[in-house]
Structures are given as structure tokens and as C-alpha cells.
């Protein structure tokens, strides 16, 4: 066998020392609490689950404040949990003397109910500057069962965006109920009982066919114009284009 060169022998010693050192330290000397991922994950989960609770959760409030909870259950605020308005209440559960705050002024209610065009249609919104500006909201609306003092006559109470678009349109003077049949129950269960939309061309044709007497309405030949379609499939009735 050929003689192993001397430099290889030296190198082999150094490499052997390094490798045995690393292997010994990593696999034998260091405790598994340092090297095993499962320990780290377990301790992380334990640390996470031990964190403080700040919000108590809706169901607990009802245990002591059952009357308010009952009242809220059937009203418009049934989806609003207690801590949404009253803030975190875990410390109140632990020490009932720490009462959660609630401002009685106007500044809180408007976070949700001030008019904002990005809010979904049908969400009750008011213009805070115009709507009873000096009164606190709770004067007329019980926050646990916020029925408005009178059932809104105006659709704009919930459909503010549509109303604001319509007021600058050629259809401004046409009332909502001229075109939509609104069952009374819509004001109570708005998502399940819905108003109707006109389902014939002749409906819009009452004003817009060329034989109509209505002077300010643009005229078309109902027999040929957009033959097979309902008018609102192309034209936006809340803001029809000006001719």
C-alpha cells in the first residue's frame, strides 16, 4: 500500500477532532431541552395559553346582568356584544368594583352610525351634524334595544348612500316607494323580508315611452329599445344618466 502522505495524516487528525467534538457536543452533551424542537413548541404553546384574558366574552355578562342581556337578545343590537360598547370587562369579572366605562355622550355611537358611503347598504346611518345635534343618542334610543322613537318613514335612515345619490339625480323627486313595494315587516327583518323591484319594461315605460305625456322624461320606443331586457339591467335608476 502506498504510504499516506504526512500532510494528510495531520489533516485527518484535525478533521477527526473537529467532527468528534461537534457530534459529541450536539448529540451527547447538550440537553434535549435545548435541541429538541418539540420542547420548544410545547413551551411556546404553554406560554401562549397562559397569557392574560382581557375581554370576558359575551355569555359571562348575562350571568349577572341577565335583564340587559334578555332585552338585547331580541332587538337590533342582538349582534352587538356587551364589551363592544362597554370595553374589556375581564377585570370587572375578577373584581366587580372595577366597572367598565361607558360614555353617555354622542361620541361613541357615531363610530358605527355616522354616515359613511363605504358602509353596506341597509345599515342604519345618520348625519351626526343634522340628526338631533345637541342630544345624547341614548335620550331617544335605548342602547340595549335601540328602536328609533318613530319607525323611520324615510328609507334614507338605512339606505343613506342610495338616498344621497338619488338627490342629485334626475329621479330626485321620485319617492322610493313609487318604484319599490316595501312590506311593513322589512323595517323589522330587513334581510329576510325584502322590497320588490319593477319587473316589467312597461313600468318605466309609463314615463319613458314615446307616447307618454310626461314632459321631462327622455323618450324611447319601447318596442325596439333594448328589446329583451328590463330597463334597470342597463340604466341605474337611482342616478340615470342625463341626456
Amino acid at each position: 500500500m502506498k504510504r499516506i502522505p504526512e500532510q494528510i495524516k495531520r489533516l485527518a487528525v484535525v478533521i477527526a477532532v473537529i467532527i468528534t467534538g461537534v457530534v459529541a457536543i450536539r448529540y451527547f452533551i447538550l440537553p434535549s431541552s435545548l435541541t429538541d424542537g418539540r420542547f420548544h413548541r410545547q413551551s411556546t404553546v404553554e406560554r401562549e395559553t397562559a397569557k392574560n384574558i382581557v375581554f370576558a366574552g359575551a355569555t359571562i355578562c348575562g350571568n349577572c346582568h341577565g335583564d340587559k342581556a334578555e332585552k338585547k337578545k331580541a332587538g337590533y343590537h342582538k349582534t352587538v356584544n356587551c364589551e363592544t360598547c362597554h370595553g374589556p370587562a375581564q377585570s370587572h369579572i375578577e373584581n366587580p368594583a372595577n366597572k367598565p366605562a361607558m360614555s353617555g355622550g354622542r361620541d361613541f355611537c357615531v363610530f358605527c352610525h355616522a354616515y359613511d358611503q363605504s358602509r353596506p347598504t341597509g345599515f342604519p346611518q345618520i348625519n351626526p351634524v343634522l340628526h338631533n345635534p345637541l342630544k345624547a343618542c341614548i335620550t331617544c334610543h335605548n342602547p340595549h334595544d335601540p328602536v328609533p322613537p318613530q319607525t323611520p318613514r324615510e328609507c334614507s335612515a338605512c339606505h343613506a348612500q342610495i338616498a344621497s345619490i338619488k338627490t342629485v339625480s334626475p329621479h330626485a323627486l321620485i319617492g322610493c316607494t313609487s318604484c319599490h313595494n316595501v312590506p311593513e315587516k322589512h323595517k323589522v327583518s330587513p334581510r329576510s323580508v325584502r322590497p320588490t323591484k319593477p319587473d316589467t319594461r312597461e313600468f318605466c315605460g309609463k314615463c319613458h315611452r314615446k307616447e307618454s305625456d310626461r314632459k321631462d322624461a327622455p323618450k324611447i320606443d319601447l318596442a325596439t329599445h333594448g328589446e329583451r331586457f328590463l330597463c334597470w339591467e342597463c340604466h341605474y335608476p337611482h342616478r340615470p344618466e342625463r341626456m
Binding site: 424542537g37 420548544h40 413548541r41 413551551s43 411556546t44 404553546v45 406560554r47 401562549e48 395559553t49 397562559a50 397569557k51 392574560n52 384574558i53 382581557v54 375581554f55 366574552g57 359575551a58 343590537h77 349582534t79 352587538v80 356584544n81 364589551e83 363592544t84 374589556p88 363610530f111 358605527c112 355616522a114 354616515y115 359613511d116 358611503q117 363605504s118 358602509r119 353596506p120 345599515f123 351626526p128 344621497s164
Partner: protein, 246 residues
């Protein structure tokens, strides 16, 4: 014992053994000694865009519950407002809880809505894939957590998250993000943001549960997730998600 007797006993043996096994299994599967078993749960969240009113109470509640810095530069969850106009322009802003001044009404708007965002707790999480020390990991019940004692603050996970859900906590100098309020959900409570949402636009649930609000949500709505082409398999399911949302 002779052969006949042996066969007779064998014929009785197998059904007897089967019954025995069943009884043994029932005895072991006691209705839980109360211990939480993560293998029985898989958490997800549903977001109904049609219900979000952009009040921002979820952002504030999350910060209170989870010790997130109050400044708007660090968010575990946030809400974006989209305004899409007839000329095709799309404007997006992130709303700040409780600081929203009334905005001037925009004209010629086609669609406008709010989109709550948070960590999607992906089933195929790119952040877990790139963490060099395994400090971020997915639990068995489907929540991605960060081990703040092991995180070295290299911020690779922040770069790898396509949704911008992660940030570097200025005090611990480790990566941080929404944990679905893990400390609440393992006790059967709801995450703080779901708790305070006034319109129930956020729906939390257990995908493995037999009866769950989230499962129903995914049954009756057409569901979208953010950035599906990246194959991160998010577990935050959006209903009525507009195509302009990134």
C-alpha cells in the same frame, strides 16, 4: 383437546374477541378528562365583507387583548377601505380605529366596502418554511405561532408573508402576528376581534367540529381566499370578496 372441540371453541372465539375489543375501546374513550386535545380541532375564520361597517373596534380590541403597540404602524389585524370608481380607479386606505374623521363623499363610485385583514393561518405557510430556526411553527389545531424566546429577529418571515400580516415587535425585537387569540380559543372563547365585531362580520369556528358557525358560513357563501395563486392555503375565508382586493 380433540380437533372437534378445538374448532368449536375457535368459532366462538372470534366474535367473542370482537365484542371484547369494542367494549375495551368504549371504556377507553371516556368523554374526556377535560384535557384539551389540539388534534380534535382545526381553527379558521370567516369574514363577511357585506357586513363589515369599518368601525375599527376589532383593531382596538386586538391591541388591548394582545399587548400590541397602540401606534398604527404595528397591526395584528387591520381594515382596508376600498373605493372603486366608474373610471376604473381604485383607492385603498387603511382605517385607524377611532380616529376616522368623516370623509368627504366621493362621486362616481361604483363599489365601496371595507375589508378586514389578519394573518390567514395558512395550511401551507411560507413563513414557517423560511424560518431558519423553526421559531415559527404551525400547531396541530391549525394556528401558526411564534416562539418569542427563540426568534432571532432575522425578519425572513416578514419578507415571506404575502399578506403583510407580520411585524417586528419594537419591544421584544421578535416577529409577531395574529394568533387567533390562541390563549382564548383553547378555552372555548372567541378571539377578541370576533367578540367585539358589532355586525358579526367576523365568524370564528372549528372546521373539524360537527356543528360550527364557520362550517355553515362556508356552506352558504361563495368563498374566496386572498392570493390563491400563491398556494398558501389560507384559512381565513372571505364571502363577497371583490376582485380588486389584494
Amino acid at each position: 383437546m380433540n380437533r372437534r372441540k378445538f374448532i368449536k371453541n375457535a368459532i366462538l372465539f372470534f366474535p367473542a374477541a370482537g365484542v371484547f375489543r369494542h367494549l375495551l375501546k368504549d371504556a377507553q374513550a371516556k368523554p374526556g378528562n377535560g384535557k384539551y386535545d389540539p388534534a380534535n380541532h382545526l381553527y379558521g375564520m370567516g369574514v363577511d365583507i357585506g357586513k363589515c361597517i369599518g368601525c375599527g373596534l376589532c383593531i382596538e380590541a386586538c391591541k388591548k387583548e394582545n399587548n400590541v403597540p397602540k401606534e398604527p404602524f404595528f397591526c395584528r389585524t387591520w381594515v382596508e377601505r376600498y373605493v372603486i370608481k366608474r373610471d376604473g380607479s381604485v383607492t385603498v386606505v387603511s382605517i385607524e380605529a377611532q380616529k376616522e374623521k368623516p370623509r368627504a363623499e366621493e362621486t362616481d363610485v361604483l363599489r365601496s366596502f371595507f375589508v378586514p385583514k389578519l394573518c390567514n393561518q395558512c395550511e401551507n405557510p411560507p413563513c414557517v418554511q423560511v424560518c431558519p430556526v423553526g421559531a415559527t411553527f404551525a400547531t396541530e389545531d391549525g394556528v401558526v405561532l411564534v416562539d418569542s424566546k427563540r426568534c432571532i429577529g432575522c425578519r425572513y418571515c416578514i419578507q415571506a408573508c404575502p399578506y403583510g400580516a407580520r411585524y417586528l415587535h419594537p419591544e421584544t425585537r421578535t416577529a409577531d402576528k395574529c394568533t387567533f387569540c390562541y390563549h382564548r380559543i383553547v378555552k372555548g372563547m372567541l378571539p377578541a376581534c370576533v367578540e367585539v365585531c358589532p355586525t358579526q362580520a367576523r365568524i370564528f369556528g372549528d372546521l373539524k367540529s360537527m356543528a360550527s358557525r364557520l362550517v355553515r358560513f362556508t356552506r352558504i357563501n361563495k368563498i374566496h381566499v386572498l392570493k390563491p395563486h400563491l398556494n398558501t392555503e389560507p384559512k381565513v375565508y372571505y364571502a363577497e370578496l371583490d376582485g380588486e382586493v389584494r
